[in-house]
Every structure is written in structure tokens, then in C-alpha cells.
Symmetry: C2
Subunit: 165 residues, 2 copies
């Protein structure tokens, strides 16, 4: 029993189950951006699941691995995450002994974040998995297309950063 009584409601129903009911939304850049991001995030979630990492914990781990000695406040700024929310992310990584909080001798308020060997290894494996998953989703996009998209996204970020709320 299909629900095709009203043909207007199913203009281009894809095999994926995604329907298009609209024109207004299709005219909005942000709508396309959000939908595609959701798809990629969902895929990323599955890619990270075997490593018991989520988007935020993975991103934090990558940044710590690549920037030894990073402070929590710097990490929070780099990830656009509020400091209070950063704490639980760091707690999670630390409890799994993927990173450690080292006291900074010159500023006893702060912690210098460093990845453990296990953290670096997990990060490497996870990144490989993430890249594989991404490639599966992006294989239809030419290198030029990818470059253009990333350039556009970077531009948006720059403009947005300068726009007052």
C-alpha cells in the first residue's frame, strides 16, 4: 500500500526514502548545507563507533595529538565549544587514558593536554577509518569540486565570524 494518492507530494522520491516536498527550502543555501552535514555526521558517527569515539571526542583527540601541550581553553576556542562543555570531553578522554592533564609549571591554573601512546594510536586508526568513510561519500565529487566547496565553506566561516549576532 503506497501513499501516492496525492502525486504532488512525491515529485522525486528517491530510492533513499528522501522526499522533496518543497521549493522554498530548496532556495535556501543553509537547508542544503544542513542536510548534507547530517548525512556526513551520521556516517562519521558510524565510522567512529568501533573506536568508541564521538565527533567531539575525536576532534578533541586529533587536536591534542597534533598540538601537544594545548590548554583546555585553547582547545575549546579551536573547537567552538564552551569551556564548561570542554571539561566533560576531556574527562572522557582522560578516563580512557588516551590523554593526560599535565600541570603547567608557569601557570598553575592551567592544564597542558598531551596524548598518550594509546591516544596517538587510536587517533591514527580512527582518522584512517574516517577518511575511508568520507571517501565513500565523496567519490562522486571531482577534486576541483571538492576544492571549490571547501573554499566556499571557508569563506562562509570567515564572513560569519565577523558578523555580529
Amino acid at each position: 500500500m503506497t501513499r501516492a494518492e496525492d502525486p504532488k507530494l512525491e515529485p522525486n522520491k528517491a530510492q533513499s526514502g528522501v522526499s522533496q516536498y518543497n521549493e522554498t527550502l530548496d532556495g535556501l543555501f543553509g537547508y542544503h548545507l544542513k542536510r548534507a552535514t547530517n548525512v556526513l555526521q551520521l556516517d562519521l558517527k558510524h565510522a567512529l563507533k568501533p573506536f568508541d569515539l564521538r565527533m567531539l571526542t575525536y576532534t578533541a583527540l586529533v587536536l591534542i595529538v597534533d598540538n601537544p601541550g594545548l590548554r583546555q581553553s585553547q582547545l575549546a576556542e579551536a573547537m567552538d565549544v564552551e569551556r564548561p562543555n570542554m571539561v566533560v570531553i576531556i574527562d572522557t578522554l582522560e578516563s580512557r587514558e588516551l590523554i593526560i592533564r599535565d600541570r603547567v609549571p608557569t601557570d598553575r591554573r592551567a592544564y597542558a593536554l598531551n596524548a598518550t601512546l594509546a591516544g596517538r594510536r587510536l587517533c591514527e586508526k580512527a582518522t584512517m577509518a574516517v577518511k575511508q568513510h568520507e571517501e565513500r561519500l565523496l567519490h562522486q565529487l571531482s577534486p576541483e569540486m571538492r576544492q571549490t566547496v571547501i573554499a566556499a565553506l571557508t569563506l562562509i566561516r570567515k564572513v560569519g565570524g565577523g558578523v555580529a549576532p
Copy 2:
């Protein structure tokens, strides 16, 4: 007091306050996508605030305005939202008398969603505001660039829809 003791940590600090600490993440398409989406979503949030609409309520309103008689389940599918979560969104719009739930005579389980005059008017005004906000963020992108990006995002969505979890 700047925090530039470690120059490696601030390779290209922008005026926006956004720092780049990384190479691994910059190689990930999804990272750029998420960051840009965050910027656009934040801007959209501010654009919709005067109308007391959020991203989800706005999207639902648009779809109902453009597709009179839509069922809740169809709306949920179109928005990639679970049916239970759809209920509260519809409740919100209905309590503000922007839409109404009409019983479907041929299927008394279902509701046909229809926008009120107030709903259509608010939708129109909100859409104008959203487009203005978007234009401010996207004015640096040429029409060709936008087309390419939207084409790429659509491709990702299609591929992602067909990828098994």
C-alpha cells in the same frame, strides 16, 4: 596579555577569533562542512528569533504552507525527524495558531496539516529575513560557486541516503 608564548599554536589566527590548530582536521571534508553549517545555523537562529521560530519550527511551517494537507508522518519523513519529535513541533505551531490539524475523513488516524492566514504571513516574513541573512553570509560567493556547492551537497545527500549504516 596575549597567549602567544607558543607560536606554533597560532599559525593563522583570524580577526574573527577563529584559530587553526590543525592539519588533520583541515583534510577532512566533514570538518569544514560542520563548521560552516554551525556558522549558518547560528545566523539563521538570529534571523528567526524576531519571529519566535527555531530552525525546526520554521522548516515545518514552510513545508506545511507549501504543501497544504500534509500528514505529520510525511512531514517527519521530509524533515528527517522522528515522528515523536514531530509532535512537539506541530504542537508549538498549532498552539500559536499558525497551523491547524484537520482530521482526514478517509483516514481518521491521520491529520491533514494546514497553515492559517497568520501562519502563511509569518512564513513569508520569516523567509524574507532568512534570505537576507543568508545573502549577507554568502555575498562573497559567486553564483557559479553556489551552484557548484549545492550540486555537491545534493550529491553527498544522494550517496549518503543509499549507504547502509
